[in-house]
Assembly symmetry: C2
Homo-oligomer: 203 residues x 2
């Protein structure tokens, strides 16, 4: 028997802050915590599997789902659509599974209106200079792309007030330990206890 | 320069739940977290030092402090008075030191009215049978004393609604890790950030 509902963790960060690696780090090391699988109109990249990495759908199918109100949040990123199904989240939460949702601040705002009890975490670079350095070290982005990502980072960081927690990714191991601690601590919240737990304990 | 105010952690538990060992475990393993030193009218035990374990005072001095409103909380336990000085807490918090305050539910209720931002943690035994077994294994208490402590435990557990977090001490290492996680997570709270931190970051 599951003893509580799952917790929804929403994690956002500017591109280059290390969100993807950190999220993978905690789903790998904590039990009963899983990454939510998004719907996307983007084409699968080599090695990506439908139903594991994403649910790959056509733009028409995606638009139908938007019309039907199927998404808890969706956004267009670099001309592709990405969305999180309400049903997928509801099912996992009802089964008592904790879910980590790795989305931008725009999506986080939409989630906030649907899932009032979700926990919001923002991963912050230690400084804008270090963020820029990390983006340059990727060597995959052109100069105008880096400038665009830096401008977007500033906009996203200005939305920090949406978030319950801020994890500064100065040192990876430390940031991972802080993110893990947030999950572990939220699992200890008094408000998660079943109504009748105290009767069971004192019986 | 300190970058934020200290956080006040209030930890309560029924006698025998393992609170003292857990609190020592986290102050030993986390930096910038210190145990608050209480005033008491109890006589020092062998090995106890004034100003390190307690501030030992006479009953007259204690009563003067109560009259002067010096205590954030105080309580009588087994015919001795114990109290936490408001000034001691305020000073540590202002210096940016996180403080752990190990008090009963009666004291926790008083703290709640003075320190609205304090974080409240309750350490729970896994079951009443295990709590009783732990109290018996101490072999220091008489039967009537054990019965009294068990009745008091039930009263204290019924106050769990005061607390933000519940840590069940089934396995010591796990409980310690949960308590540490609560401290680490609370240190990541967005609301602790200075007002001007974002200007500094984006400068």
């Amino acid at each position: 028997m599951k003893h509580r509902d799952g917790i929804l963790f929403v994690v956002s960060a500017p591109s280059g802050a290390g969100k993807t690696t950190l999220c993978k780090g905690i789903t790998d090391s904590l039990e009963n915590l899983t990454h939510s699988i998004s719907y996307t109109t983007r084409k699968p990249r080599p090695g990506e599997t439908d139903g594991r990495d994403y649910y790959f759908v056509t733009a028409d199918r995606f638009r139908d789902m938007v019309q039907a109100g199927d998404f808890a949040e969706y956004a267009e990123v670099h001309a592709n659509l990405y969305g999180t199904s309400k049903r997928v989240l509801d099912d996992m939460i009802r089964e008592g599974i904790d879910v980590i949702l790795d989305i931008d601040t725009q999506g986080a705002r939409q989630i906030k209106s649907h899932f009032a009890t979700a926990v919001f975490v923002f991963i912050m670079p230690p400084s804008m200079a270090i963020l820029e350095e990390r983006l340059r070290n990727r060597k995959s982005d052109r100069e105008d792309e880096i400038r665009k990502r830096m401008r977007r980072a500033v906009d996203e960081i200005r939305d920090y007030g949406l978030y319950d927690y801020i994890v500064v990714n100065r040192d990876f191991e430390r940031a991972l330990s802080e993110l893990r601690s947030i999950v572990v601590a939220e699992r200890c919240r008094t408000k998660l206890l079943r109504n009748n737990w105290i009767e069971d304990l004192l019986r």
